[in-house]
Symmetry: C2
Subunit: 403 residues, 2 copies
């Protein structure tokens, strides 16, 4: 039997290593002596032959790995070229796969990584390479993957956001003074993560939350009007703001700082919260403070959703089974069968329905005032954050699995 | 028997309500029908007669309260005047205490709040008021109180910092690229909290940590030299930076943004990390990112140190017992008897030895290169973060006790 190689790509999540642990567990469960390799730093590790043997990992290692944040194998943002224009990378992948006797490749990642799966599977099929299968396992805190109810990594990040937005409601009410707290949350084009602040709002009814998703264009006048309305009932307001919200001011549209562009041409946004904070402080003389959750929200292994981690492991296992069943060019997925009791079914989806596409929040899940979410969104979110799980600790400090 | 009133003051912590729960538990345990009142928003609630009756709280309420962050009674930064200049506030306090038949006042807070305890106890004693005692219970994430080994609230904040600085070590190593992460940590004049990053460094040896405490003056040249040295062994470095570090650049000394001053005349600092990030990016062309832990570090009830919470409760109980034993003008304290096994003894200290004073990190606990801490500091820190405890959850989202 041929060996398996697994790699991770895209931005870190708190659940991506749970999927890696699932892949390794499933493969080792087959127990026929075939190896499981890891490619370091995504597909670049295959091109550079930066490969580690993971076959010897113990149950205890895998438990620790499952609760370790970020990508234990490392990640990349490398995009394969179009093979019609340049076959170099593809030939190199095949060469390395032959050398390590690889028959199965599982790529764990988001919509860009699924593009890699798509290109490789197409290349193999068009070039008569029938003894290597390549399948994807989903991950992204952004929850913007198509073809799947929700993504591993999202539930834990959503739980983290619901948690800190609950804690900050206690914090913002401490002084008997007007005080507005702006929390900037990741999400370039999709506001799923910011929507998770609504879970905090549910449990902290005495503090108004204004929630602006990336799908919303927000004029400063509208924001100030929303705030004044909320402050009729409370001196303290929490503003949950997607980094991707388009803010319309008199001087034009601000879309974060927009001063960096990553390898995929994505703009790195940050600074929306700072723009609003400045307007509140300088122009309206309100006491306002701005917090950017930044990287903290995508690697909070001390605040895992048990539901998320269980599903992340299962999708890793499934990606392996897909290959064993001869499938290629597919992504492991889950479909929601019911909200309450929460139940999902596992299957797979053609990678073409996932690669390079983005799933935005449906407009019907945003409230009419465009400053919160609907009951439908809450029903969707609630099961995903259920159950508390944490990283392992040694003497009170996290202990991670390092490959 | 006369009634007790309790209030909270100063900045929020994750343990201040554990001390409040301890005060209420101890008082209710006396079980003679005397009431326990809470003053809302610190001593201002006494002046404004904004008082709630806490006598009816159940064991379950108190358990939830113990795990609720920030100040459940609210806080203030109000400083009592010098009674020799203006007795108004003091007369008002006595008037309200008489109305509610108060014989015991417990004030939970930091060095400014202990000044209030000091002034009140002196005023009572100088004016022949012998039937009201006032004692303090310590809290501050900054750990800068004198007369005590360490402060409730510090252990949980230190655990939070050790936790996120561990997680960020996983995050910073994800890409196979040079990447520097600057984490700005609270601490105006004392670097205790920033030192807690050393606990993360202990568990993540493959990532160099540069740790700069508030006690250190840091020239940009020295910082760049430290960084270059660290990067000989690793592409990735974590810089843990006190908000209070004095940064010397060619254009002078930067000490955060320094643009706000609170009611006590303390400068609100922020922005040291941004200064260093800018230097790294603009002048050295390094990939660097700056994260400010901001309010998140002082209300992280989902990441409590069990040791801290147990001690916080116990010091609340003790502050009540001090009064019952007829003491006044004292602060409940703990003294460390041994590091391993960790053991503390509870006693009390004259409030004059605490009020308005600040305990800095001893220079012998900072390493010679001034970019880390010594073994002594690690021995001091380790027991304080031990044991995992969390806020309560309802359907995966924190559930807090709201007064």
């Amino acid at each position: 039997m041929k060996n398996l190689i697994v790699a991770q790509s895209g931005g870190p999540t708190a659940a991506i290593n749970a999927t890696l642990a699932g892949v390794i567990k499933e493969w080792l469960g087959k127990n026929d002596g075939a190896k499981v390799y890891g490619s370091r730093f995504g597909v670049e590790g295959i091109l550079n032959e930066n490969i580690v043997d993971l076959t010897g990992l113990s149950e205890d290692d895998l438990d620790k790995l499952m609760r370790t944040p970020a990508s234990a194998l490392g990640s990349c943002r490398y995009k394969l070229s179009d093979p019609k224009e340049d076959e170099t990378d593809f030939k190199r992948v095949v060469e390395v796969f032959r050398k390590y006797d690889i028959g199965h490749f599982v790529y764990i990642g988001g919509n860009d990584s699924m593009d890699t799966v798509h290109r490789l599977s197409e290349y193999f099929s068009e070039n008569g390479i029938t003894d290597i299968v390549v399948n994807g396992a989903p991950k992204t805190i952004d929850n913007d993957l198509c073809g799947i109810d929700h993504c591993p990594g999202f539930g834990s990040a959503a739980k983290y956001i619901a948690t800190v937005c609950s804690e900050l409601a206690r914090e913002v009410k401490v002084y008997d003074k007007e005080n507005i707290l702006i929390v900037e949350i990741m999400g370039r084009h999709a506001g799923w993560l910011t929507a998770a602040a609504a879970l905090a709002a549910e449990n902290n009814k005495e503090v108004p939350y204004l929630i602006y998703l990336s799908e919303v264009k927000l004029s400063v006048n509208k924001f100030v009007a929303d705030l004044k309305e909320a402050m009729k009932n409370s001196k303290n307001v929490i503003v949950a703001l997607s980094e991707g919200v388009m803010i319309e001011t008199e001087s034009g549209i601000h879309h974060g700082s927009e001063d960096e562009v990553d390898a995929f041409g994505h703009k790195q946004m940050a600074g929306n919260g700072r723009i609003l904070e400045k307007i509140l402080k300088d122009e309206l003389k309100y006491k306002a403070r701005y917090i950017e959750l930044s990287l903290l929200q995508r690697c909070a292994s001390h605040c895992l959703s048990e539901t998320d981690i269980i599903e992340a492991v299962e999708l890793g296992r499934l990606a392996v089974r897909l290959g064993l069943e001869g499938e290629s060019g597919r992504m492991a997925r889950l479909t929601r069968v019911s909200d309450e009791p929460y139940r999902v079914e596992y299957s797979s989806v053609d990678i073409k329905e996932v690669a390079n596409l983005e799933k935005k929040v449906p407009s019907t899940w945003i409230n009419e005032a465009k400053n919160g979410v609907t009951e439908e969104m809450l029903r969707y979110l609630k099961p995903l954050v259920k159950g508390e799980m944490s990283c392992r600790h040694k003497d009170g400090v996290p202990e991670f699995f390092v490959i």
